[in-house]
Symmetry: C2
Amino acid sequence: MSTSELPDPPWIQARKPRSARGAPLSRDAIVEAALRVVDREGLEATSMRRVAEELGTAPSALYWHVRNKHQLLQLVLDRVVGEIELPPRDPENWQAQLKALAREMRRVLSSHGDIARVTIGAIPAGPNILVVVEWMHALLREAGLPDRTVALFGDLAGLYVGAYAFEESLGLASPTGEDLPPEEVLAMLGEYWASLPQDRFPHTLALGDLLFEGGPDERFEFGLDVLIRGLESLRAEAAS
Amino acid sequence: MSTSELPDPPWIQARKPRSARGAPLSRDAIVEAALRVVDREGLEATSMRRVAEELGTAPSALYWHVRNKHQLLQLVLDRVVGEIELPPRDPENWQAQLKALAREMRRVLSSHGDIARVTIGAIPAGPNILVVVEWMHALLREAGLPDRTVALFGDLAGLYVGAYAFEESLGLASPTGEDLPPEEVLAMLGEYWASLPQDRFPHTLALGDLLFEGGPDERFEFGLDVLIRGLESLRAEAAS
DNA sequence: TCTGATGTAGAACAGTGTTCATTGACGAAC
DNA sequence: GTTCGTCAATGAACACTGTTCTACATCAGA
C-alpha cells in the first residue's frame, strides 16, 4: 500500500515521460499488467508477448520502459511487497511481531501465484522491499540484539519465507513434470513408499504418514518456531 | 558413491534395455552427460539439444530414455546427491553430526554448478535422496527427538540447504539481469545505499557494511546455528 | 516550420521443449 | 533362412521464448 516516494535504485534508470498524459504506456502500467498475468496464469506463462497482449501493444514496446524480463519481474516483486502492512513496532513483543511479519509476508506472496520464485536469489533492493527490511532491522535492534546477529538473521528470514512460499506455490508438483492431479501424485508417492525395503529405511517408514499429513500452515509455523527459538537462544547467550 | 540397488520410483518407468550391450544410449549415460553440461556451462545452458550434442545424437533420441527435461534434471540431482558421504551415526553427538551433514550437502551441491536450483520445490523422492533422508531421520530419532519434530525438521533442513546453495550458485547476480562483474554490482549497491534518506532507514544504514561483509561460509554457518539451537530448544522442552 | 527526442510497431534471429512419422537394427519364431 | 515385431535413433516440424533492429509515427521546443 505504500507507493513510497523513494529514490529508484540506479540500475532502474526510469525514462522521464514526455508529458503527464502523453504516453499510452508507462512502467507502472506494464508492471500492473504483468502482475495480472502472474496472478491469473502463473510465472511460467508470463512472457513478454503475453504481457504485451494484455496491454494491447507490441512486445518490443515494453523494452522502451523496461530493460528486460528479469528487471520487469523484480519490479513486479517490489510492487507485491508493497502490499505488506506493517504494524507499529513493539520491541517488548519482538518475537510475536517477527512471527506476524513472516506470516504477512507469506500471505502476500502466496496471494500472487508463483511470484515468490523471484525472491530466491534476488538481492532485496527494491524500495518497498527496503521498507520491510528496515522495519525488521529496527525491531530486532530495538529488542537489543547484536548488530551482527540482526544483519545475518534478516538474510536468513528472507530466505526462509521466500523459499517456503515458492515451494508452496508449486503445490504438489508431479515428480515427472507432467500436470497430474494431486491425488494421483500422492498415490504414486504412497506406492513408492510401500515398495521401500523395510530393512533399509526403518526410520523413514516408521515416520510414515507424519511426513505427509502436516498441512502447509503447520509446516510454516514449525519453521518459524525453530527460527525464533534459535534467535532467542543467541540473544540469551549474548546478553549473559 | 552409492549406486544403491533400490527400486526405482514408479514414475521413472525405466525402459528395459534390449540386451546388456545393445543400446548405444542409456539413461545413465544421458544423466552423466547432462551433469557434465551442468558442471561446465550451468543449468540455464543445459538444454536437451545441448545434452544430445554432448552425446553426439539427436535431441529426440533422449526422449526414448527420459520422459522430459524435468525428469532428467531430477535424475541428475539424485545422481549428485549420491556423492554425499555419510559417516557412521553417533547419536550422542547429534548436533555436530547434523551440522556436518548439512555442510556436506552444501559442499556437494555447490560443486555442481546451479544444480541446487532443482532441489527447490522438488519432492525428495530419488533413491539416493532417500538414503540421505533416512540417515537423518535415524540420527534424530536415535537422539530422542519426537517423531513429529523429526518429520518436520527434515523438511526444514532440506529447504534451508537447497535454498542456500541455490542462492549461492547465483553469486552476485546483477539486479538488472545483465552479466556485470561483481565489483560493479557492489558499486551500484553501494551507490544506492548511500542515496537512501537517513531519516527513513536509520537502522539499515547503521548496520552498514555488516550487511555485505559476511562471506558465504559465515552466513551458512549462522543459519545452521540458528536451526540447531531452535531444534535443541524444542528437544529440551519435549524432554521436560 | 524544422529538428530531435519520445514512443510504438513489425519483422527477424537464434534458441527452447516436445511430438511425430520414418527408418534402421536386431532377437526370436517359423 | 526368412519373416516379424519390438527397440531405438533420426530429422523435420510446431509453437513458443527473449531480445534487437529498423522503420514509422507523434509531439515539444527552438
